[in-house]
């Protein structure tokens, strides 16, 4: 029960952070990616803040709390192909998974289309490539 509340809180911090930072606004995201147009660097500040807290916290706490080790794997062709496809979709809609799901509560039409489509893409790739973990 206690873990459930903490997990809910963790998600709530994450969602609140997405909204506070403006990352739930698709135009704000595509504006970061639009480096040859009206570039908006806000997303870099978001990544900076997130990496500072997560990376710093992980570095200091991993020993005492026995946190999982470096999850890195070999750089595979699937990693590259997947990242390319993700980047293309990200640039098309201005949605990555977190902000799309965060917008479900506000019943935004774009999120209501995007999230089921994303689920479909995931189910298909998990079947084809037998992705388990």
């Amino acid at each position: 029960m206690k873990n459930g509340i903490l997990t809910f809180l963790a998600g709530a911090f994450f969602g609140a952070g997405l909204a506070l930072s403006g990352m739930t606004d698709p135009l704000k995201v595509t504006a970061f990616l639009d480096i040859f147009g009206f570039w908006d660097p806000t997303l870099a500040f978001v990544m900076g803040g997130a990496l500072l807290v997560f990376g710093g916290g992980y570095f200091f706490l991993r020993g005492t709390l026995k946190l999982p080790g470096n999850p890195g794997e070999k750089i595979s062709s699937n990693l590259i192909l997947g990242a390319v496809l993700f980047g293309v979709g990200w640039g098309l809609g201005g949605f990555c998974p977190g902000p799309a799901i965060a917008n479900l509560g506000a019943l935004r039409t774009e999120a209501l289309i995007f999230v089921p489509a994303m689920a479909l893409g995931m189910v298909v790739v998990q079947r084809i490539y037998r992705i388990d973990g």
Binding site: G11, L18, P26, G55, I80
Partner: protein, 141 residues
């Protein structure tokens, strides 16, 4: 400094803090695409924390939308209709699960834990996103 940058930084700190808390509580790396994708697989024994985490995410964002007019700003970029969002969703779902992560799983958690493959993935998806936005603007304007 542009207040958007400050909000971005503070929001980023919340994202990092939420991710860290989820990692500590569950012992799993809480990348959103992984959390969501594994929920879609039947016969999973540990679906509950993933569902709770995502419900918290929706609630936290919803709360901010209610509290702040600025946080609730939602603008669809030029030329994106429902079909573009349907295609984008499929491609993002396929790509994030094939590549093992998204902006949070690779960009925040993986990079924050020092994973080299996450750094490569982040550079690649950012470059692909920049390329796509540029081409989309050139084709539609």
């Amino acid at each position: 400094m542009n207040p958007d940058y400050l909000h971005g930084f503070l929001g980023g700190c919340l994202i990092g803090g939420g991710s860290l808390l989820a990692l500590i509580v569950t012992g799993k790396i809480p990348g959103i695409s992984g959390v969501f994708g594994r929920l879609l697989k039947p016969k999973q024994n540990e679906t509950s924390w993933r569902l709770v985490f995502l419900l918290g995410l929706i609630a936290g964002a919803g709360l901010l939308f209610q509290l702040s007019e600025q946080a609730s700003i939602f603008r669809v970029p030029d030329g994106r209709n429902w079909l573009v969002y349907a295609i984008a969703g499929i491609v993002v779902g396929f790509g994030t699960r094939l590549g093992g992560g998204c902006t949070s799983g690779h960009g925040v958690c993986g990079m924050g834990m020092g994973a080299r493959d996450s750094m490569v993935a982040t550079v690649v998806f950012m470059a692909a996103g920049m390329f796509t936005v540029t081409i989309f603007r050139l084709l539609t304007s």
